[in-house]
């Protein structure tokens, strides 16, 4: 009789232990494995996703990013600039347009005030190509397409560029699912005044405020 009771007891313990609700494969501290080691061990190569970010950005005009492994896209910029190509007004190179401070100078771009680095470091032609205004200009004088202005930014902001390529800097469009469609530098930062401005928060929780002041 006692044997039977023991047996039943043992079986019930085993059953309780195995009928646990938690599924296996969860990330837990395994010895000294770091989170990256654990994730590497569980990674799935070339996942076949049934979902895609593409359908949320059907209307977006995309450009493939140079220099990032895989398919990464940014929004097309030149199609959305009001007065592009620049050559529709700038028929002559800048130096032939005459002295900008003279009475006859054109009144275009009056609203642009460069607030980007010191005057010793940057002026208009650090980025703009004064002989071909439809293109941008690298520090070494090479032409850079307006849609690939990130190449221009990366000349100084190498760290940010690296993190943007990887995914720690910048903003994803569409969704988390592939393909990766991200904002280019100029979609968030005005290149003439790249810093984010301070502003008021979007909301105030008045209920919480009342509770706190009541304490």
């Amino acid at each position: 009789m006692l044997e039977k009771v023991k047996l039943v007891f043992c079986i019930s313990i085993v059953l309780t232990a195995t009928s646990c609700w938690h599924e296996d494969g969860a990330i837990h501290h395994v010895g000294h494995q770091t989170i990256n080691e654990q994730l590497n061990a569980r990674s799935v190569d070339s996942i076949q996703y049934a979902i895609s970010s593409e359908e949320y950005l059907k209307d977006l005009d995309k450009v493939k990013v140079d220099g990032i492994h895989g398919e990464v896209y940014i929004p097309n910029r030149s199609n959305h600039l009001n007065s592009f190509p620049c050559s529709s007004c700038h028929t002559k190179p800048l130096n032939e347009l005459g002295n900008l401070n003279s009475e006859n100078s054109k009144k275009a771009h009056w609203n642009i005030k460069l607030q980007h680095a010191e005057a010793e470091v940057m002026n208009c032609i650090t980025c703009h190509n004064d002989s071909n205004l439809d293109q941008l200009r690298s520090l070494t004088g090479r032409e850079i397409n307006v849609n690939h202005s990130y190449k221009l930014c990366s000349q100084c902001h190498a760290t940010q560029h690296k993190e943007w390529q990887g995914g720690a800097h910048g903003k994803r469009l569409g969704g988390w699912a592939p393909p990766r469609i991200i904002n280019s530098c100029v979609n968030c930062h005005n290149p003439h005044s790249p810093a984010f401005e301070s502003r008021w928060p979007a909301r105030l929780n008045t209920v919480k405020l009342i509770e706190q002041t009541a304490d």
Binding site: W21, H22, E23, A26, I27, H28, H29, I35, N36, L39, N40, R42, S43, V44, D45, I47, Q48, Y49, A50, I51, S52, S53, Y56, G70, E163, G166, G167, A168, H169, G170, K171, R172, G174, G175, W176, A177, P178, R180, N183, C188, F196, S198, R199, W200, P201, A202, R203, L204, N205, T206, V207, K208, L209, Q212
Partner: protein
Amino acid sequence: MDKPTDKDTNCGSGNCGCNGNSKPDGTDQTFNKVTDRRNMLKSLTAGLLAGTGLVNSACSVTASDDTREKKSLEWEEYFKGNYQLMTDEEKEGTVQRLARLYELNNGKHANISAQGAREDVLYGYAFNISKCQGYMDCVNACVQENNQDRGSQMQYIRIHEHENGQLNFELAEDDYYHEVPAEGHFYMGTQCFHCENPPCVEVCPVKATWKEKDGIVVIDYDWCIGCRYCMAACPYDGRRFNWSNPQVPEEEVNENQHYLGNRLRKKGVMEKCTFCIQRSREGKNPACVEACPTGARIFGNLLDPNSEIRWVLANKKVFRLKEDLGTEPKFWYFMD
């Protein structure tokens, strides 16, 4: 009812159970059952509900077809099982009933999904402390997306304003209202961290909350009894309770819903961030990630070696809150 009835103690009747050898017969078992207060209330409530439901749904000749349909749907909803134990058809059945009930009650269509976890997906989140400016656009987006109670101003996300040089949540300001970012301060958002080892799930006495295969910790609002054990167990203040009936203006209701996500809740149940399960399982980013104008919020698949979140974990110095507890949150913080 706690006390034995007269009949139990009265040995004059031949039917009673005091005679050591004879067992009580069927009548005795049914009518002289010693019951406690809890069981009595339970059976009374069930009986009452069953009675009311039946009368309204089946026997009524005066009620309209809509009322009859509504009652019959409510009846089925009331006696449905735990979501985790449902088959796919049963899940589809309950979301259809809920959608139909919403239509009958509000005259509007709601699209409620029962989409399960996607294959080879484990969601993870990273938050860049250097980037957050404290604008709180994420909070607004979250409230709207998830149909949170406007009456109590329920918010899943909290943005804490810390003074530079310290990371003490006791001293942080959660209710700042001045131009941001404030000089000498930094901002840090908290919400449900979707722990791999969630203490809230552990303590739930009715299994109304659990971790899905894709790592999202969810709540079945129809199974929750509102005991708030999970709220007490969460070390991160990630859970919220509906102290009153949630108020969401009719025109602001987000009709794109998920059973385990932003479908309309009721008084007395828990709720919390679900990584916007109605969005994330369709490949979209949670509303907070989409709304953030600074790119401080990064979301993605931890099992995909090419995902942004994996790049952050592999290349940035990341940390989590209260790591010593062993809760293993899937929510990391990092700096530029």
